[in-house]
Symmetry: C2
């Protein structure tokens, strides 16, 4: 160690509290899809809020920038340092309290989502956030990215599941905003600033999360949907008629075909479906639920909104249905040159988006293959364009297609990043498409709360 700051940090944190060993640091410097590769001479591994506070104080005094990191599952590069001090929160992994009467759970930033779900379950409660990386992603990262996932339709994004936050501010002060209160109108709701801030305003060290009564009944169905318009009508019907919809996912033909092709042991449950919808339902009691769902889906078939429906007959089948949806990303990742998008539009605009995007892509890069899937219930599609089979991947016009997709999205009132955030990956599009007044306000807030610009300075702004 050649640097006085690193020596001070090491002295404060003790031998377990940091690493300068390249082999130990290496896995923290590479994003899991290998799209972002970083570097840092020093990884802090604080085990307490007081240690995080001191790390930030020492960095602030030295004017050294910090990149906070949780489970390193982010998709936009915000968690990968490029010379900054890396602060990994993984050792702050205590669940501080579970309060079933208050429906509240307080977890430190490094607790893995799955462990929060499990702790809630052990107290006969539900923490509803659920997404593919739940075995790795941590609470701090999920808050800093305002994570979404498959249950947003019923429970909202992470933002709606946070009651209180404890954070270390850019000058090292600790803001103790943990709270299980349901109502508190004493000034600005500061926690909202930290949710989705991608580490640019401070380091979230703990949070009080909202729990729910555990639903006693659970049903999953697959529907063969002739078109996105039919899917939209089906969605609208089941939401109102059942009052129990907790997820509504859509997968186009190619997304499922590529699962069957590329994911070992996967099979296509509805090979004729132009679009397949996965519906999940939850209710406080099983009484009448399945009958109500079956009646609603039968009405939907009669109305032509679905041509066929499979209801999961047991938990294993429900898991198998979800397994297809969860394998979609792996299914097309194997197909070579591609561009992925995480867009949202108003729910009513999803069919329009799918139709117009297909036409625009075909015009710009004829023969390109489209994988359209995602959280249709929230208007959020993970929309991927694959190079034409047999074409030279080097000639695939990925950036041009992304520009087309983004233009279309914004023209429909949509967002170029529904779930994943801006990070370093999408700053260009962010600056291009976001309202200039909004960006000016964000910069003003950033400047006011982090005047030395030491908190994750390459993310969001550049």
């Amino acid at each position: 160690m050649s640097n006085a700051l690193y020596e001070r940090l090491a002295a404060r944190l003790g031998p377990k509290g940091y690493s300068t060993d390249p082999d130990v640091i290496a896995p923290h410097l590479i994003e899991w899809r290998k799209r972002y590769l970083g570097e840092t001479p020093f990884m802090a591994l604080p085990a307490s809020t007081a240690e995080v506070s001191d790390v930030v104080k020492l960095c602030a005094e030295a004017g050294a920038a910090i990149t906070p990191q949780g489970g390193n599952t982010g998709l936009v590069g915000a968690q990968i340092p490029k010379g900054e001090v890396l602060v990994s929160l993984t050792r702050m992994n205590a669940i501080r309290s579970v309060d079933p009467i208050d429906d509240a759970l307080t977890a430190e930033a490094g607790v893995i989502l799955h462990n929060v779900q499990q702790a809630a379950k052990d107290a006969d409660r539900l923490f509803p956030l659920s997404l593919a990386s739940e075995g790795i992603a941590t609470i701090g990262g999920l808050i800093s990215t305002n994570a979404g996932g498959v249950h947003v339709l019923r429970y909202g994004m992470m933002r709606e599941l946070v009651l209180g936050i404890e954070a270390v501010l850019p000058d090292g002060r600790v803001w103790s905003g943990l709270s299980s209160l349901r109502k508190d109108n004493t000034g600005y709701d500061l926690k909202q600033l930290f949710i989705g801030a991608e580490g640019t305003l401070g380091i979230v060290t703990a949070a009080t999360l909202k729990l729910y009564a555990r639903p006693r009944a659970h049903e999953v169905a697959l529907a063969n949907v002739p078109s996105p318009e039919h899917g939209l009508a089906l969605l609208h019907r089941v939401k109102a008629a059942t009052g129990a919809l907790s997820a509504f996912e859509i997968m186009d033909r190619l997304s499922v075909a590529l699962v069957a092709k590329n994911v070992p042991s996967a099979r296509d449950p509805m090979p004729e479906a132009p679009y397949m919808a996965l519906l999940e339902f939850e209710a406080a009691t099983a009484e009448g639920l399945r009958e109500r769902i079956e009646a609603t889906l039968s009405d939907a078939i009669e109305a032509g909104e679905a041509s066929d429906v499979l209801m999961a007959e047991n938990e294993a089948q429900a898991r198998a249905f979800w397994g297809v949806r969860e394998a979609v990303a792996a299914g097309h990742r194997a197909e070579g040159a591609q561009v992925n998008h995480d867009i949202s539009v108003p729910v009513s605009m999803t069919p329009t988006f799918i139709a117009r995007a297909a036409a625009a892509v075909e015009k710009a890069a004829p023969g390109s293959r489209i994988v359209a899937f995602g959280h249709m219930g929230d208007g959020n599609l993970h929309y991927t364009v694959l190079h034409r089979e047999g074409s030279d991947p080097a000639l695939f016009p990925g950036p041009a297609l992304t520009a087309i997709i983004n233009e279309l999205t914004v023209s429909l009132g949509g967002s170029i990043s529904a779930e994943h955030g801006i990070g370093v990956a999408r700053i260009g599009d962010f600056n291009r498409f976001k309202d200039p007044s909004a960006i000016a306000m964000m910069r003003a807030v950033k400047g006011a709360l982090d005047p030395k610009r030491i908190m994750n300075p390459r993310a969001l702004f550049a």
Copy 2:
């Protein structure tokens, strides 16, 4: 008019767009309980966002401060000018769109809550915010105060019901943040800053609000609850067992007795109840709902959590049950010297609060009467102390009692203002009880977004 600014404003707004007539302005200067009385030489009545923008630009150029006002139902004085230019949003009263498929409604700031509820109903949807002043309060004010009400338990506060905001910033620029998107992770969620900001960061001119499928079934019950502890157990039971609870209100004996005494035509439906709980349920279908509620309440009686239950047999009876709850404020307002509080504690702490507050009040002012009622399902009590019957109201130690109540609240992890905000009324308590790091952050945000401090400068900060 002696002032160049007022002349410029008048020229921009035209004869319908402003008033300097003291008789026209007078009702806007007095809070409905007559606790706050203001003054202003000029009331702007803009009819469009462009007019609001120009009003703010002209004021900003002149360095003149602004107090925005909606329906003038606020309880902490934030909407009453003291020399500032009053900007009444009442003429911005268009509902711009209702989108049943997107479950979204866009309303201008001056639209009265009842009209939003009705427009949603006309489209077979629900806008769930509901509170006593819904026939007068406007969307802009309800957003600026992050209004609560009786359905927070199921649907959250106003904050959770806002999808997008259009606002005029302190320099007059328009921020077009209207959106019906359910997911949008492109930078800080700026609308959160305006929700609950009490007009200190800009003027909300319109908002996109969240709608819901209209519940098809609706039940209301009253329960005779021996104590707050029993009420808490009852609440916990019905939440989980029915999955349909939409309101859980509690009223102590005196709160109901004073309704019977002071509100003409009101009657006490359970004169023996030490505490009365009002429970409301909603569901997508009636099927099984009433049976499920009756079975749950019967279990509660068996467990001793309630000693008696009345289920409303029809809509008229349901309204009558709600009528008692809604009359509670009027019931004790007639009883002379009193202090009112709007506190929240973690739901599990409500019985502790009620017991400790009663003991502390009795010690400080023996014989004082207590009215404890409110949204127990959210841990939010409107807690009033009345002077001892026959005592000299002038000797009633109101401020000392408020200090005791606030100390106790904060010691239990609670909030000194659950619903009503800080305004000008509670700045002292806000400065005393709020985390200094939090206040410092709020001041930094205020300074960054409103450097000239022209937006409602006496509210929140002083």
